[in-house]
């Protein structure tokens, strides 16, 4: 019998490959591009069914570029929503109907859309939101500030934080691979700092663009996908609590726990596709530790180099790649020798400091110092970080 060696392709004509091949094995070439352009390159290789956009700085270029992919035949459906609330509702509809969906927003857009994020997780749709963090009004700011991530922490969505253009590309691909696991199947928010990543142009290594992720298989979803048998909106219109009896409340409560449990179950997959939930930089044995995410980790890396060069002081950075799930074990292990833990952040409230304190409560004797903290789009120069460190350790 003659067996044909048929190469499977998606509707855009790209050869379908496994996430492992796309992320780890495919040969990569050097390019020089912005974070917004990296979003386009990731979506291009992700067999995305639908995307809905709405303009807001600094994510407008990324949203616009996904539209170009639609025009080029890589994305199935694309349109501009009436506002961010509409966008996040419309992508939910597309996901419930069985599509792989991605969208982008920033700052005030996130807040306007907010009701939808816990709805996403409660309906167990693996939507991906690329969040390009910006200051939250008022007064008006368009600059980088990640206060909005604090609001998102307990919506039941996974939250990952990319440091640079390269990591953003890889995380978007990995995000689909993890969020769509049948035993995970919750939304994924891939966050980056606006401007510092979205508008920054730097070197990036990309696999070829004629290969792509396998299309999403909606019949692996833990929730029934809308089809000829299942009408849309059944789950939202007819929830348990409408029955107003004991078992309905218990079911609602356990549903909430189950969403959180699903995030916990994402750990092994995220560890695999992100090569660990944390990353260390500097002298591993150092007792001065920075815990940070996003570009605050970049600034801390510069501070580690400067402390070594100008003061002869050894320090290290523990970068958190995932915030939900929170990397408890990794953090406890990485800070076991710490005397001082500094948490540099780009927001006014210090949400990461709060998370780290909670994680290390009765697990570490280190002094935990939530500094430096800058907000409203200010920059965090390494010189300032070093100055703060020297003040505390002397």
């Amino acid at each position: 019998m003659k067996v044909e060696n048929k190469v499977e392709k998606n509707w855009a004509g790209q050869r379908i490959v496994s996430p492992d091949y796309l992320l780890f094995e495919a040969p990569r070439e050097k390019h020089f591009m912005t974070g917004s352009e990296a979003v386009k390159e990731a979506v291009k290789r992700a067999s995305v069914d639908a995307s809905v956009s709405y303009p807001i700085t600094p994510q407008s270029e990324a949203a616009h570029l996904i539209g170009e992919l639609w025009a080029e035949g890589y994305v199935g459906v694309y349109f501009r929503g009436e506002n961010e609330f509409g966008v996040m509702s419309e992508v939910a509809g597309a996901a419930m109907a069985g599509g792989r969906v991605i969208t982008t927003t920033s700052g005030p857009g996130t807040l306007r859309a907010f009701e939808n994020f816990p709805m996403w997780s409660g309906t167990r749709i693996p939507v991906q939101l690329v969040l390009m963090a910006r200051g939250v009004n008022s007064p008006l700011s368009i600059q980088p500030d990640n206060l909005e991530v604090d609001f998102l922490l307990d919506t039941g969505c996974m939250i990952w934080y990319a440091e640079n253009v390269q990591e953003l590309f890889d995380m978007i691909i990995a995000g689909f691979a993890v969020a769509e696991q049948p035993d995970v199947h919750v939304p994924i928010i891939t966050a980056v700092d606006g401007f510092f990543v979205s508008h920054t142009r730097e070197a990036i290594y990309l696999p070829p663009d004629d290969i792509a992720l396998p299309p999403y298989n909606p019949y692996k979803s833990p929730m029934p996908v809308i089809d000829a048998e299942i009408p849309p909106g059944r789950f939202l219109r007819d929830p348990f609590v409408m029955k107003s009896n004991y078992i309905s409340y218990a079911t609602h409560a356990s549903w909430q726990w189950e969403v959180r449990a699903a995030i916990e179950r994402s750990r092994p997959y995220a560890k695999h596709y992100l090569r660990g939930l944390t990353e260390e930089f500097g002298n591993k044995d150092s007792d001065i530790v920075f815990v940070a995410c996003g570009t605050a980790a970049s600034q801390a890396k510069e501070a580690v180099r400067m402390l070594e060069e100008t003061e002869g002081i050894q320090a290290k950075v523990v970068k958190l790649k995932t915030i939900r799930p929170f990397p408890y074990e990794e953090l406890i292990e990485a800070t076991k020798n710490a005397k001082y833990i500094f948490i540099p952040e780009f927001n006014v409230v210090g949400w990461l400091e709060r998370e780290v304190r909670k994680a290390l409560y009765k697990k570490s004797n280190a002094e935990i110092i939530g500094t430096p903290r800058v907000a409203g789009g200010m920059t965090m120069p390494k010189e300032i970080i070093v100055k703060e460190v020297l003040e505390y350790i002397k």
Binding site: E29, K30, H31, F32, T34, S36, E37, S60, E61, H64, L65, L140, I142, Q143, P144, D193, F195, F196, V197, H199, T200, R201, E202, A203, L206, T295, S298, Q299, K301, E302, R305, E309, M378, T379, M380, P381, K382, E383
Partner: protein, 238 residues
């Protein structure tokens, strides 16, 4: 201590092309084999409002992001940066490092006696030229001011070749480039002016090249050393 990273701050006015300049500078430096990052930082984009861009070039990986608070190089794109304080920092040279470089686009010397004394105490090199007039004479448009400024930057730093600058300019105007609405309309305006894109590139290259020569000669007359050790990387962009 030998420099391993050059941080460049470009205070300009909206519409002058400082964001474009930063991208071309980083692309050219990357092409030469340095680590390079460009990063614009504008407010609500408006013509004539303050707008700043930053580029960083190094012989080690660069993690630093955001505003350049302690620059090695400052490129003042417009006299109003100094005369009207259209800058994110006051004075415009705030944070300048020892043996730094300042390029000022102005037909007049805008430094006060105090400015000059402070900059001399830090051994900062200052080159004031009317780069806009330079652009008008060579390219026939003041919109090429940014090309003159970036040519002068590389001429003075002496680390990036004209070939790499050419690659940077071509990457900006020949490859598909993503720009905001305002930048896209400026692009189409200048394309109409030059009728053909290649003519635009030729004029831009000529402007950058002439400014490079001018600044190279000036840097040699000042006894300036190259700003960085030779480039560490050889890999080319696809």
């Amino acid at each position: 201590m030998e420099r391993r990273l050059v941080s460049i701050r470009m205070p300009a006015l909206g519409g002058q092309g400082a964001v474009t300049a930063a991208h071309i500078i980083a692309t050219a430096a990357d092409n030469e084999g340095y680590y390079a990052v460009s990063n614009p930082f504008f407010g609500a984009e408006k013509r004539m409002a303050p707008s700043e861009s930053y580029a960083r070039i190094g012989v080690v990986p660069i993690y630093d992001r955001g505003e350049v608070v302690y620059p090695d190089v400052i490129m003042v794109f417009h006299p109003q940066v100094i005369t009207m304080g259209k800058s994110y920092t006051m004075p415009f040279y705030s944070g300048i490092k020892e043996k730094g470089l300042i390029l000022i686009n102005s037909e007049h010397d805008l430094l006060s006696k105090e400015d000059r004394e402070l900059l001399e105490s830090k051994n900062v090199y200052v080159l004031t030229r009317d780069f806009t007039k330079f652009a008008v004479e060579i390219a026939g448009t003041e919109l090429a001011t940014n090309m003159a400024m970036l040519g002068a930057l590389f001429g003075a730093m002496g680390i990036v070749s004209k070939e790499s600058i050419e690659e940077g300019i071509k990457a900006r105007f020949l490859k598909k480039y993503v720009a905001s609405g305002g930048t896209a309309s400026l692009d189409s305006a200048i394309e109409r002016k030059f009728k053909r894109k290649l003519e635009l590139i030729e004029k831009n290259l000529a402007t950058a090249s002439a400014a490079y020569d001018l600044a190279r000669e000036w840097a040699q007359s000042q006894g300036m050393e190259p700003f960085l050790p030779p480039p560490p990387l050889k890999e080319k962009v696809a």
